[in-house]
Amino acid sequence: MSCHGQGTEVNAEGHPIILVGNPNVGKSAVFGWLTGRYVEVSNYPGTTVEVTRGTMAVNSLHAPIIDTPGANSLSPRSDDERVTRDILLAESPRAVLQVADAKNLRRALLLATQLAELGVPMALDLNMADEAAMRGVKIELEALSRKLGVPVTTSVATRRDGLDGLINAIHSACPASYAVRFDEHIESAVRDMATVLHGHPTSDLGPPTSERALTLMLLSGDATLEARLNGSADKAALIRRELAMRYADPLSFVITRQRLAAVDALMDGVYHAPGQAERRVSWTERLGMLAVHPVWGVPVLLIVLALMYLVVGKLGAGILVDWMHNVAFGQFVNPLATRMAGALIPWPLLREFFVGEYGLVTMALAYGIAIVLPIVTTFFIMFSLLEDSGYLPRLAVMVNRPFKVMGLNGKAVLPMVLGLGCDTMATMTTRILETRKERIQVTLLLALGVPCSAQLGVLMGMLAGVSPVGVAVFLIVVALTMITVGWLSARLLPGQGSDFILELPPIRWPRLDNIIVKTLARLEWYLKEVLPLFVLGTAILFVLNATGALALVEKAAEPLVVGLLGLPAKAADAFLIGFLRRDYGAAGLFMLARDGLMTPEQVVVSLIVITLFVPCIANLMVILKEHGPKVATGVVVTVFPLAFGVGAIVHLVLHVFRWTF
């Protein structure tokens, strides 16, 4: 672990250590290992990407430490990669510690060569050494260190193994002496680009040592970087275009290919892996293959779904919600709030605002905390489990084909599954989808057909009273509507879908501390971003109710509900409430059914309508916030008539054919 070339003795205490690495290498585990309890998570300015900062206090080393999002390349193709690149350019680090997956050395070195071009003091940590050893991979650390000119160490972060090596590596971090030599045309363009950078009035792009990295990023076609050149942007674009003309392939690909060739030469004699025949396959690997098997993958999927239903449906929606709703709020919070309001607030209207029918405490907080919070908590726990174990991308593989029919791909399964927890939350998660078209499509499908957990329980309760044929009709009609809308929106909406390329990380035993941290982080996000929307929505309802507008809408909707859908008049109330609070709407129908006021056929029609019905007001507000008024209007205009239309058609068909369940 020696340092060659110009070793820099950066003793400045304030300069941070920056952790960089490919996704799924255990960077967070290393970060957690090196920092104390207090870490601060914040959004990088102007983005939704989270950056974690902490303080490293191990042995003699005290320094701020920054954890960047996973990046495969410093020529960014995603927000995560862009933020990582920007952090590396903006902060002058004391050391850059690249955390790598030892067995995937090739991809790690691809990143390492780019870090080398930044000219920052760096060290390489080959983490997950246990997995590498299990697969028979052997790496010669000394030789690699010599070739790169930086300290190389190894670790198993999950077992806290290798701390001394890490500390030594960080202490002796130095700029790499290794540099990738590209072909003469590219090197010539690099020199030309450097001249442009010198002529650039303010060197705010990055420190002088990063010049080579900046030129290569610009040649790879980094639009955001080029834009920062202001006046010199045209000259840079010209150099890039002239170079691009020499190659048939896109320039970024040409550069990456030459990098890979250099990396392969680096690995020669240093990285030894057993051939295909001698590879030992662990049971976790077998499980991973089973999870995507065309036949065996299905029972695995069903088991996962059953587990989710048990934890979220039975424990969360059942036991926890009951307690929160009936005991915590029913016996303590609501009566207390009502008494306080009666004592402290003289004006009845204001009192109603807080504890009335559409009261802040009695409705908004009761809904957001007593009903939705336990459900999303259990949901987040299960979700973090699936994420940490590595199953999630495999789930995407299993659903890819059906999703393609709807014009999406397997990656969209994530927000759709979250929608079963809370549609409002899931609509926010559509941010992770790459193209705008996909985001709008999934938003539409969520608003249309995915019942949130608040509804699901009541839904299933009502379906219990209907014959299996009725249940089947319900499922088929809803599924068909969603597939048709998905397929149509894929053809009619402008724009493109994204490529289905996903890494399948090895199946790993999920770690408790990871799950807890992720769940708490997501809960915090829910409380800060979603809960206020429930409050706002309820306030709007309060106003509508107080002004009598609500009663008017009910009166107007009645003929529609009775005539078109063949349902009792009271169902109109339930639908209206359903727009405001999903579970109240479903519960309203449930009570009609329970009191024997609806035939099984009417139950099915009403369930179809309420499932397809417009999203709850909180969801609508998120759609407005995320996608703007045009999309929000489009969603409502599509979903509203569709819900009633499909319901009317089903009612007609049942009526004409005198079908009974």
Binding site: N72, S73, S75, R77, D101, K103, N104, R106, R107, L110, A132, R135, V137, G221, D249, P250, S252, F253, T256, R257, L260, A261, D264, A273, Q276, G288, M289, V292, H293, P294, G297, P393, A396, V397, M398, N400, R401, K404, N409, G410, R491, L492, D499, F500, I501, L502, E503, L504, P506
Partner: protein, 140 residues
């Protein structure tokens, strides 16, 4: 054009019903002068071309090999090959594949084709769509 009913060949642009019929401008129908059979002239109607786009089928991929190279999608599960070229001009696709290790010179092994293509490069396992697997040409 050729009448599908009687086989008569005629030029639809000089048709009576295209030049002197009262419906002229707005009529998207063409009548065969020999048998009178009416057909839709698709170039004259926006609705027809819009519907065609709705039901457009993907272009069929030729199965034969290219200069002795085989597409990844034509390999058998378990087979390996060295990537020679990736037949796309989309920089984003090439960048993502190469960052994961799939680039000319890399050895890839096809693990399965269904429900999605899964391949292994080095110690990385990834999944791709059929359309992408069809673009990766390998030498077995």
């Amino acid at each position: 054009m050729r009448c599908p009913l009687c086989g008569f060949e005629f030029d639809e642009n000089t048709m009576q019903c295209h030049t002197s019929c009262a419906m002229n401008e707005n009529c998207a129908m063409v009548c065969c002068p020999q048998c009178g059979y009416q057909m839709v002239d698709e170039s004259k109607t926006a609705t027809a071309s819009w519907l065609r786009k709705l039901f457009a089928r993907k272009a069929q991929v030729p199965a034969r090999t290219l200069n002795g190279l085989r597409r990844l999608s034509d390999l058998a599960p378990g087979q390996s090959g060295e990537v020679v070229t990736i037949a796309t001009r989309q920089a984003s696709r090439l960048d993502r594949l190469s960052a994961l290790g799939v680039a000319p010179g890399s050895i890839v092994t096809l693990r399965q084709r269904s429900p999605a293509y899964v391949l292994r490069v080095g110690e990385t396992e990834l999944t791709v769509d059929e359309s992408i697997a069809q673009e990766i040409f390998t030498r077995v």
